[in-house]
């Protein structure tokens, strides 16, 4: 069976949670015997591959971004970039025809929409309207409430009618799609309340990876004398706000050999805000901001961290980094919100839930004061691995009747 993964980001070389989810969905579908093709409708970045396995419809190549429509939305545009990208393609005949040609070439039996946004572009395709090509909405969260929260956190005044339009857009997809995939039972309840027909829950997962060969392997400026707690995150707004709300206060009282290490694309935003705050005067030798790091560095950090921090106050779906943290076998200090979709792991002895900055500080100091214990490699439970969390999605796609 041919599955087309249509996303608003590339998936071959994942860098953030959404990309990781899509990447592993594609990988697991291929492992399960599906013929997977991919198209990304997005702003091409320097990190994207020029690879025939995933052609990119580069939304940069339109005049839409200088149009009056978009200029009016520029203030909040960053937070709604995916949403507007679909409109940009819809209004650019050359991109639209390029996309349709690539969809036609893929001859999909089903289109897996990674995010709702490209629904605008595929809903009128004859194969979709006739029901020959099934559309499966592979959600990563419920978009409208998350967008609303992010806008509020960022202090933006987003027109209510835009937020309503986003919700209506997603509702239309949920009711029109052949099936919907939710990340968490909570998301599933919302989709069901909207009238979803077929629905499965397929949580985020982790990969099995041994890192116990990296003990004592550290990227400078970290050294064996330092102990650190690690926070990994993309520039997704909840990561940045979570850092300032829950972690920044703890920096004040770290001992000389203790550090909080942050890594991922969120570092740029965090560094910029630190530069304009009193934190800049005392963050040295307390905070280590490594920016985006390669896989080996990340593995070394995960192997040597005294604790992995998940200071996530809000968000939709579930967090890939929570699954990864649990699979890494290190102590985890997290908000309850970060455990969305992973509630069954909250009671583990290695997990400390903290809901206030004070609780975070206390848990971090406690973790850093313990002698660095050797990382005992613990085989992550199969239920945490992508191969298990995506079982329901694979079963769903297998249930699509064969033939046209």
């Amino acid at each position: 069976m041919r599955i087309l993964q249509l996303s608003t980001h590339s998936t071959l070389v994942p860098r953030h949670g959404g990309q990781f989810r899509s990447h592993h969905i594609g990988r697991c579908l291929e492992q399960a015997g599906f013929e997977v093709s991919r198209i990304a409708v997005c702003w091409r970045t320097e990190h994207d591959l020029d690879d025939a396995r995933e052609p990119i419809i580069d939304v940069r190549q339109t005049n839409y971004w200088s149009s009056a429509t978009y200029r009016a939305a520029r203030a909040w545009g960053t937070y709604f970039a995916d949403y507007y990208a679909a409109f940009a393609v819809a209004e650019a005949p050359h991109l639209k025809s390029e996309l349709y040609a690539k969809i036609a070439a893929a001859r999909p039996d089903a289109i897996l929409l990674e995010h709702p946004w490209t629904w605008l572009l595929v809903k009128t395709l004859p194969g979709v309207t006739s029901g020959v090509v099934r559309v499966v909405y592979s959600s990563q969260n419920v978009e409208a409430p998350l967008k609303r929260r992010m806008a509020r956190e960022a202090g933006l005044t987003v027109p209510e009618d835009l937020l309503v339009a986003v919700e209506e857009f997603e509702r239309d997809l949920v009711t029109s799609a052949w099936a919907t995939v939710a990340c968490t039972p909570t998301d599933a309840e919302i989709f069901l309340s909207w009238g979803a027909g077929r629905l499965v829950v397929a949580n985020n997962g982790a990969i099995r990876k041994r890192r116990d060969n990296l003990l004592g392997a550290l990227p400078p400026p970290l050294s064996p004398e330092t102990r650190f707690a690690l926070f990994v995150g993309s520039s997704h707004l909840p990561n940045v706000s979570g850092f300032f709300k829950f972690l920044a206060p703890a920096l004040l009282r770290l001992r000389p050999h203790e550090r909080i290490v942050i890594t991922g694309s969120m570092c740029d935003s965090i560094n910029a805000r630190i530069a304009a705050s009193p934190l800049r005067h005392y963050q040295d030798r307390r905070l280590v901001s490594l920016g985006f790091v390669d896989e080996l560095v990340l593995d070394a950090l995960l192997a040597n961290a005294s604790a992995i921090l998940l200071p996530i106050e809000y968000g939709g779906g579930s967090n890939v980094k929570t699954a990864e943290a649990l699979a890494a076998g290190r102590p985890v200090i997290a908000t309850k919100s970060a455990f969305r979709g992973f509630a069954e792991y909250e009671a583990l002895s290695s997990v400390t839930l903290a809901e206030t900055p004070e609780a975070f500080e206390s848990a971090i100091r406690d973790a850093l004061s313990k002698p660095p214990s050797d990382l005992k490699y613990i085989e992550p439970p199969r239920e945490l691995l992508w191969e298990a969390t995506l079982d329901s999605l694979i079963a769903l796609l297998r249930s699509i009747p064969a033939g046209r």
């Binding site: 041994r210 116990d212 060969n213 990296l214 003990l215 004592g216 392997a217 550290l218 990227p219 400078p220 050294s223 064996p224 790091v293 390669d294 896989e295 080996l296 560095v297 070394a300 050797d374 005992k376 490699y377």
Partner: protein, 490 residues
């Protein structure tokens, strides 16, 4: 929990983009197997600027597999894969030949065939003239013909032989951008190193690091030739450098694998002479099974060796340096090629080694070069396997060897071997080779003459010593070393 093994790949890392020589082959074959062993906690590391860096496994495997043909576009490096058998091509023609080689196997050019026919006619004519010459003048006439031939060869050669251009290596600063994670070894770690101690592995720093942390180090001793035979060391290299390296090896190592009993005995003697205690040592028989799938062309042999498919040739393999004693083979060929009916060519496979200038000059000076003697450099493993399979006889006239990997490889390919009786070569030949004094030219002439006169014969191949077995010996040694009682050795 198994011990962590820090697998040093510094030599492969630095030599990335070049065909493997003996030491880098050992490092590559053992390291790949240690890294693939899921029962070990192994981590590839590189020593760089007195620091131990972790290497991403994928990069490590790439560096270990990089035989120089996979990473470089042939057009970036037009000279390197060519054979020096004929006139050195100009850059343009080399480019053309490389480009052509990607499409089909080149056939000998018309010019070359004409030259061969002319040479044959001249040779037959000269012999006839010598035969008709009165006995008292025969020697002088023969000398005159030889001189005339050398003059003609020199004149006809399109350009004088130029010093070989270096391959374009992968820029070290580029690959080193991936060295981002510093490894701070732990007390229970085992460090495995078998690279080029004089250039790539800082034994002294490792010894200091070891004193601080208490990890254990296992190494290889390949030979003590540079310690024992100063006359073969390159100009400007004091033997003391190699003595110091070997002392450091003894001081730093908790276990030393020796590649032959000959080396083990010599190292033991050296330890006694140096007032050092000999660490526990184990014999490590190196593998003789050449990997076949490493060239950019996969299984298919490259263009520089396919022309040997229809030749009768003797093969010799080894770095070009005085110790390898190629001058003996050149002299043997010089004389035997004058004998009617001697139809065996000589293929020399090897890149220039330490102090190669003299040896290289000897090869270039041979009037037979390009006709009966062929020099092939940058030969990938699958090409080497092709040559082993097709050679008539394998020759190893070396004046000293720690082991004799090419001899073992030739025997593994079922080829008859005539070998020097020095150093570890008798061990490597396992009773299967004709052993000769490498200084006895007459004996070598006789042996080669007899081998050439015989039809191609298959020697019953002995059980091939494999790299899997070698890696298993290393693995067992490392696990033994990990046991606590070994900590008390020092």
């Amino acid at each position: 929990m198994p011990p962590r093994i820090l697998v040093d790949i510094s030599t492969a890392w630095r030599m990335s983009g070049r065909p493997p020589v003996g030491v880098s082959r050992v490092e590559r074959e053992i390291a790949r197997r240690l890294l693939d062993d899921t029962m070990l906690r192994s981590l590839p590391v590189v020593f760089w600027a007195n620091t131990v860096y972790a290497v991403d496994r994928e990069n490590a495997i790439r560096a270990l597999a990089d035989d120089g043909r996979s990473s470089l576009s042939p057009l970036l490096n037009p000279d390197s894969p060519d054979c020096d058998g004929g006139a050195r091509p100009t850059t343009t023609s080399a480019r053309a030949s490389v480009a052509h080689a990607t499409q089909s196997v080149p056939r000998p050019g018309l010019k070359r065939r004409v030259r061969r026919i002319v040479r044959k006619i001249a040779s037959v004519g000269a012999r006839r003239v010598i035969r008709l010459t009165p006995a008292r003048a025969k020697a002088e006439v023969e000398q005159s013909f030889l001189h005339a031939r050398n003059v003609l060869v020199a004149l006809l050669r399109s350009s004088p032989p130029q010093p070989r251009q270096e391959r374009v290596p992968r820029p070290v600063d580029v690959i080193n951008r991936s060295l981002l994670v510093v490894v701070h070894p732990l007390r229970d770690d085992i460090v495995w190193t078998c690279g080029l101690y004089s250039h790539c592995v800082p034994l002294r720093q490792l010894a200091e690091m070891k004193t601080r942390t208490g990890f254990r180090l296992a190494s290889i001793c390949y030979d003590l030739i540079r310690v024992r035979r100063a006359e073969w060391n390159p100009e400007g290299y004091s033997t003391d450098v190699f003595v110091a390296n070997t002392v450091d090896l003894l001081d730093a190592s908790d276990m030393i694998f020796c590649i032959s009993g000959y080396v083990q005995d010599d190292l033991r003697r050296f330890a006694a002479e140096s007032g050092r205690r000999m660490p526990p040592s184990k014999l490590l028989v190196l593998g003789a099974d050449l990997p076949r799938h490493l060239g950019s062309s996969g299984d298919a042999p490259g263009h520089q060796v396919t022309r040997f498919a229809s030749k009768r040739f003797a093969l010799t393999v080894g770095t070009i340096e005085p110790r390898k004693n190629y001058s003996l083979l050149l002299r043997v060929w010089d004389e035997l090629s004058r004998e009617p009916g001697f139809d065996l060519d000589l293929a020399i496979v090897g890149n220039e080694g330490f102090g190669a200038a003299g040896s290289t000059a000897e090869i270039w000076a041979s009037p037979l070069l390009g006709d009966r003697v062929h020099w092939l450099r940058d030969v990938a493993d699958n090409d080497l396997a092709f040559l082993y399979d097709r050679c008539h006889v394998f020759l190893c006239p070396s004046l000293d060897e720690g082991w004799g990997l090419p001899v073992a490889e030739a025997l593994a390919h079922g080829r008859p071997v005539i070998s020097s009786d020095r150093g570890g070569l008798p061990e490597a030949s396992r009773g299967q080779a004709t052993l000769l004094n490498p200084l006895d030219k007459a004996a070598w002439m006789g042996a080669v003459r007899r081998a050439a006169a015989r039809p191609r014969e298959e020697v019953r191949a002995l059980a091939t010593p494999t790299w899997d077995a070698a890696a298993a010996v290393v693995r067992e040694g490392l696990l033994t070393l990990a046991r606590d009682e070994w900590r008390g050795f020092r």
